[in-house]
């Protein structure tokens, strides 16, 4: 069974623990500027939205890469960047429709979410449950449940 990140922006407080966790997991330092997940603050609307790679089944970054440096990890389904192959051409950053692959000037390679090999640090560190790691078929389950709970029909047992 594959799992996927489920993101519920209405639970996000904008604390950036996910960015701290992600950067530490991948870089060994706390450095939000190198995080693979980003929290966007829409200040005037009071909304905070974490955003990262959704691991497309048919991944355009992977298709576009001329040196096959983006490979699927069969255990997690994550599209991972192989640093020894990546030449930093940035074609994947153009190909990705969501902007979740980004170039890292410090290394000359691209970086993207790799699901931390199956135990994503962002989900572990999120204090509000805005980011969870769940069955890939059920990423919207919590949202369905929330809306289901809002229906006002009362069960009535019939004899």
């Amino acid at each position: 069974m594959l799992k996927a990140l489920s993101i519920l922006p209405d639970k996000c407080t904008g604390c950036m623990q996910c960015e701290l966790a992600c950067s530490y997991e991948h870089e060994g330092v706390f450095n939000p500027a190198r995080s693979r997940i980003r929290v966007f603050h829409f200040h005037d609307e009071a909304r905070y939205v974490p955003y990262t790679c959704t691991q497309c089944a048919e991944a355009w970054c992977q298709t576009a890469c001329p040196v096959e440096a983006i490979q699927v990890n069969p255990a997690t389904g994550a599209k991972e960047v192989l640093d020894n192959l990546c030449v930093g051409c940035k074609v994947c950053t153009i190909a990705c429709p969501f902007g979740t692959v980004n170039y890292n000037q410090a290394t000359g390679k691209v970086i993207k979410c790799d699901l931390c090999g199956g135990d994503p640090a962002c989900a572990r560190y999120c204090p509000t449950g805005a980011i969870t790691y769940v069955d890939a078929d059920l990423t919207a389950y919590e949202r369905m449940r929330t809306w289901a709970a809002r229906t006002d029909t009362q069960a009535q047992a019939t004899a």
Binding site: T13, M16, L20, E27
Partner: protein
């Protein structure tokens, strides 16, 4: 590690920016942020300096935990000689700016001199330069924020700035970062304005490391759980913010009302945290939209509000229809109970203006309250107020005067002096609710005795954040003490003062101490920083910082005679509530406090005390 080991020295007169290594000997004695910056300040600045002269310095300082994944580890402080008080000033702020500064590779910035023309400082990692701010001068914090991000095409720049209040020399002007978090008290924004420094904009991509990562991650995770499971930090603060206190403090009869003439406010329920969540009759929406976290914070007490579009104050001002920083408890008290106003929307507007123009809402509200008492007692009239009917409870006076004060117009010029100078000017100094020139906040020392000693002895003038004995006396943290008696309070105040100095020097938020003791904080500092960070050492650091600040004030001309409360609090008994008939018993507490501190009867640290602390 923990520290970046590098500070930036900016000489505004010369227009130079130079890096220096951090003095690690001092870091071992003073930890960081409040303590370490105060050490630098005391070593470099003549205590008798005029706060608004080029010889005063202004330090922005982070702590060793700032920028790490410890909960709430995004704090920075601004240290200077306060424009409002003439005492050491240290104003602490959250938001995201502090962590960004640390991520750019700097522990602190020391500003000296005065720029010949307005400037702002741009920091992009190790590169720092001063840029002309002529076209930003005269603009608000919000406009400045937008302009700088736009001009550099970088929406990720984090910005701390002054608004019109700081430019116009409002003595309680503050420095606002991330649009609505503030280094709020003592007039640090007025000092920044006197240096013609409009803003500091930072982008940091270097990262922050810790000494023992494995231990650090484990212990910070464990301590986050404590915050999540605690009733105050896990439920009360995220749900109601600090405004959870309004009804509580009113009920125990410690809510200073109408310039502290009374201790309970009949309008408290209408301006409380609960009221902010109630749907409004006009548009069916609550004032509060959501809570917000500062950098790394797992509590998330910040308030984000939207003003009712149909309210008279914003009906024709669509620029104030968007969401922004809402009322915290102190602000709601100062601009509400203390002025007798119960119009939540008008108060939220005044709060927005304080954020937009960079003014401390505590001092502003309390100064307005003093002005209202001057007006009602006949000391001033409509001639002085520019025709404004300055009765207690007049919300239109609040919304008009908050703008006038920031702009330095009309009666706002008088309010911008702060309440001590205002009341002296009109011949009624006893109506100023200040200690060392700073307005006291939202806890009446007649109903919470320990807060009297807290205000009287605070090194930055009256303040609740130097020893928040409310935690013990009202909330029972770490253990319940009786708020109506002075017994035991000197020891409580000293212990809280020393522990708070440590928290304020670490990069963490003081609000964690609703759930954490120093026993919880110590292992986080110890895992992040090299060296000996045992509990004993940290307590010594806290006491050393307190005495260092005290020494600065004594050399600046303060004496034990300044450890006084406004006469009203010690001679006019509370008129109602559980504290009815009581005054504050400062005279009983102060001598015992001096003795516990190892100070003589005049409040001067003895030679033995200084030697013991290595001062």
């Amino acid at each position: 590690m923990g520290w970046q080991r590098r500070i930036l020295r900016v000489n505004l007169t010369e227009g130079t920016c130079n890096p220096e290594p951090l003095n690690m000997d001092w870091a071992r004695q003073y930890l960081g942020q409040r303590g370490l910056a105060t050490k630098y300040f005391v070593e470099e600045v003549d205590p008798t300096v005029d706060p608004l002269s080029p010889d005063n310095k202004l330090i922005f300082a982070t702590g060793p935990l700032t920028g790490t994944a410890a909960s709430t580890a995004g704090r920075y402080s601004v240290i200077t000689k306060g424009a409002l008080t003439g005492a050491i000033a240290c104003s602490n702020s959250g938001g995201y700016f502090g962590a960004e500064l640390k991520n750019a590779g700097w522990d602190m910035i020391v500003f000296e001199g005065r720029a010949p023309e307005p400037v702002y400082l741009l920091i992009e990692d190790e590169e720092a330069r001063l840029l002309p701010a002529g076209d930003l001068w005269g603009r608000s914090v919000w406009e400045t924020h937008e302009r700088i991000q736009h001009d550099h095409q970088d929406p990720m720049l984090k910005i701390a700035a002054i608004g019109q209040a700081g430019e116009n020399g409002v003595l309680f002007a503050c420095i606002v970062n991330d649009l609505h978090r503030a280094a709020g008290r003592s007039g640090v924004g007025a000092v920044m304005g006197s240096k013609r420094l409009k803003a500091v904009a930072v982008r940091g991509t270097q990262g922050v490391s810790v000494a023992d990562p494995r231990r650090f991650l484990q212990v910070t995770m464990e301590k986050k759980r404590i915050l999540a499971e605690n009733a105050v930090t896990g439920q009360g603060l995220p749900t109601y913010g600090t405004q959870v206190l309004m009804n509580v403090v009113n009920e125990i009869g410690a809510l200073p009302t109408r310039n502290a003439r009374e201790v309970q406010f009949e309008g408290a329920p209408r301006i409380s945290g609960e009221a902010m969540r109630e749907p409004r009759p006009t548009d069916g929406k609550p004032n509060l939209i959501t809570n917000q976290a500062c950098f790394g914070c797992t509590i998330a007490c910040g308030r984000v509000s939207r003003i009712d579009k149909t309210h008279y104050v914003v009906r024709n001002k669509p620029q104030y229809w968007k969401a922004s920083g809402g009322l915290e408890y102190e602000n709601a008290w100062a601009m509400g109970a203390d002025t007798g106003i119960d119009d939540l929307e008008a108060m939220t507007y005044a709060n927005f203006i304080c954020n937009e123009q960079g003014m401390d809402p505590i001092s502003f509200g309390a100064t307005l309250a003093a002005a209202m008492e001057l007006y009602e007692s006949g000391a001033i009239g409509k001639e002085e107020t520019g025709g404004i009917d300055l009765r207690f409870g007049n919300a239109e006076a609040l919304t008009t005067l908050v703008e006038q004060t920031a702009r330095g117009e009309g009666f706002g010029r008088d309010l911008g002096l702060g309440s001590r100078r205002l009341c002296e000017k009109y011949g009624r100094p006893e109506l100023s609710m200040t200690v060392k020139g700073q307005e006291f906040p939202a806890y009446d020392p007649r109903g919470i005795q320990g807060m009297g000693l807290t205000y009287a002895t605070s090194n930055r003038g009256a303040c609740h954040l130097r020893s928040y004995t409310v935690a013990s006396e009202v909330l029972g943290i770490p253990e319940k003490t009786d708020p109506l008696v002075p017994d035991g309070k000197p020891a409580l105040v000293k212990a809280f003062q020393d522990a708070t100095a440590v928290v304020d020097s670490s990069g963490l938020c003081l609000f964690t101490t609703f759930a954490w003791s120093l026993d919880d904080i110590q292992p986080q500092i110890d895992a992040a920083c090299e060296g000996d960070w045992s509990l004993e050492n940290l307590l010594a650091v806290g006491e050393r910082i307190w005495n260092l600040e005290r020494q600065f004030n004594l050399r600046a001309g303060f004496t034990g005679a300044d450890d006084r409360l406004p006469e009203r609090l010690v001679s006019e008994p509370a008129r109602q509530g559980p504290a009815k008939g009581l005054t504050n018993q400062l005279d009983k507490m102060l001598p015992e406090y001096y003795a516990l501190r190892g100070w003589d009867e005049n409040g001067v640290p003895t030679a033995e005390t200084l030697q013991r602390l290595g001062l």
